[in-house]
């Protein structure tokens, strides 16, 4: 009886294994049979064009571009709202993670070590609240940041690495919308800092860079629209970003240079009044962001 049972088990295992083997080989045969058809299909089938997707830059790059254009450090222009626990919805957490990321980049590139540490901690808190705090532990990033606090170049590389592990985390967890939301917050904060500094020095290069930054606003809006279904709050964020674009598009300097956003040889300059009206709108949206 016992032997019969073992024999049965052995036969069953062999039968199953053989079936699987032939199933696997069978699919190869099927593939070969279909190759002829595939060649015909390739020629005749029209190309299916998918929705466009977006790859937005990092907050650090935006801060770096402004820095290269001569953006000086000015105290008090970064977010003074330093209580990350106040943000309760995911969209407000993500927007303000972006705000803190921009402030962190500005502080690091201007060697404001203490401020950089504060924004790093706030970014960590918000990331924890968003359930992605583990990215700070990858590659010992948080500790390396503290140890290299007096080395601007090392800190910039650590922030870039943090961005990389965050991007990968969000992609692996199918939360790409967070990337677009965070960048929206960071972009508005960077523009707010740059326009506040511009008010003081009226630097031409900074004026050009403020205008250049406006060329990516459409990409930000489109990236948010592509992810709109994933979070109900994105619709309101799109409206905020569109309201900035409407102000910019209506400026006479922009209307008179319709190709400025595409022509690589044109560096658009805005008048001081135009920068003021843009600054006012950006400040309004930024206040809304940090209040949550």
């Amino acid at each position: 009886m016992f032997l019969k049972k073992k024999n049965f088990t052995l036969k069953f295992v062999l039968f199953f294994a053989t079936s699987l083997f032939f199933a696997a080989c069978g699919s190869d045969t099927a593939k070969e049979e279909n190759i002829t058809t595939a060649a015909v299909d390739t020629v005749e089938a029209p190309v299916e064009s998918q929705e466009i997707s977006y790859s937005l830059p990092s907050p650090l790059q935006i801060a770096s571009i402004f820095k290269k254009s001569g953006l000086k450090y000015k105290g008090g222009v970064t977010s003074s709202f330093k209580d990350a626990t106040k943000y309760t919805t995911n969209i407000n957490k993500a927007i303000n993670l972006g705000v803190y990321s921009a402030d962190l980049s500005y502080a690091v590139l201007n060697k404001q070590n203490q401020e950089a540490m504060t924004y790093m901690k706030l970014s960590r808190q918000l990331s924890d609240n968003l359930g992605m705090g583990s990215v700070f532990d990858q590659g010992n990033l948080a500790n390396r940041f503290e140890k290299n606090i007096s080395n601007e170049d090392s800190l910039a590389y650590i922030i870039a690495e943090l961005q990389m592990v965050t991007d990968m985390y969000l992609d692996e967890n199918d939360q790409q919308q967070i990337t677009s939301i965070v960048f929206s917050g960071a972009w508005v904060e960077s523009m707010n800092i740059a326009s506040k500094v511009y008010e003081k020095g009226k630097d031409k290069a900074l004026n050009n860079k403020l205008a250049e930054q406006m060329t990516i606003l459409e990409s930000i809006i489109n990236a948010l629209k592509a992810e709109e279904k994933k979070d109900a709050g994105i619709t309101g964020l799109i409206a905020d970003m569109v309201s900035i674009k409407q102000i910019y598009d209506a400026l006479p300097s922009v209307k008179n240079n319709p190709n400025a956003s595409e022509d690589t040889e044109v560096e658009l300059s805005l008048t001081d009044d135009e920068v003021s009206s843009l600054t006012k709108k950006i400040e309004e949206i930024r206040e809304k962001f940090i209040k949550g």
Binding site: A17, S55, S58, I65, Q163
Partner: protein, 153 residues
């Protein structure tokens, strides 16, 4: 008898593993990211884009818009090792709606064995990365992923 049982079991596991490998994609995102990062040096990491590709009976075109800034230097690193079969990669400065556009980069001359491709971008406002995915009528439901990483300095 016991020996035969274990031999059969090992055979079963081997065949099961073999069939599983036939259908799974090779999208190890961590490994692909690490590989691209090496090729990105000395440029600083800016962003990366994974695109899941499902091969269907019809050829497909997928496009990713990459906004860039004049005056900055950019490098793009592609890795195709997450794909079960080759695709065409082209980069343009105009989107797919524009009829007359010229590619500033193409992998058409790259060898099949070249899985990593590096492109240093010229001065531009935007780049459009296009993936031309060929048709697959084998019913094999082939899937995979493409990655490109953007760096700046």
């Amino acid at each position: 008898m016991k020996k035969s049982f274990y031999i059969s079991l090992v055979g079963l596991l081997f065949i099961f593993g073999f069939t599983t490998l036939q259908t799974a994609d090779n999208c190890d995102k961590k490994a692909l990211t690490a590989s691209c990062k090496k090729k990105l040096e000395p440029f600083k990491y800016d962003s990366q884009k994974f695109t899941k590709i499902n091969f269907t009976k019809k050829p497909q075109q997928l496009e990713v818009e990459v906004p860039i800034f004049i005056g900055e230097k950019y490098r793009l690193v592609f890795n195709t090792s997450g794909l079960p079969k080759g695709i065409k990669i082209n980069i343009f400065t105009k989107d797919k709606e524009v009829k007359k556009r010229e590619a500033i980069f193409s992998n058409k001359d790259a060898k099949d064995s070249e899985k990593e491709l590096v492109f240093d971008a010229p001065r531009s406002r935007k780049m459009y990365v296009d993936y031309d995915v060929p048709a697959d009528s084998t019913n094999a439901k082939l899937t995979g992923c493409m990655i490109f990483m953007v760096g700046y300095k």
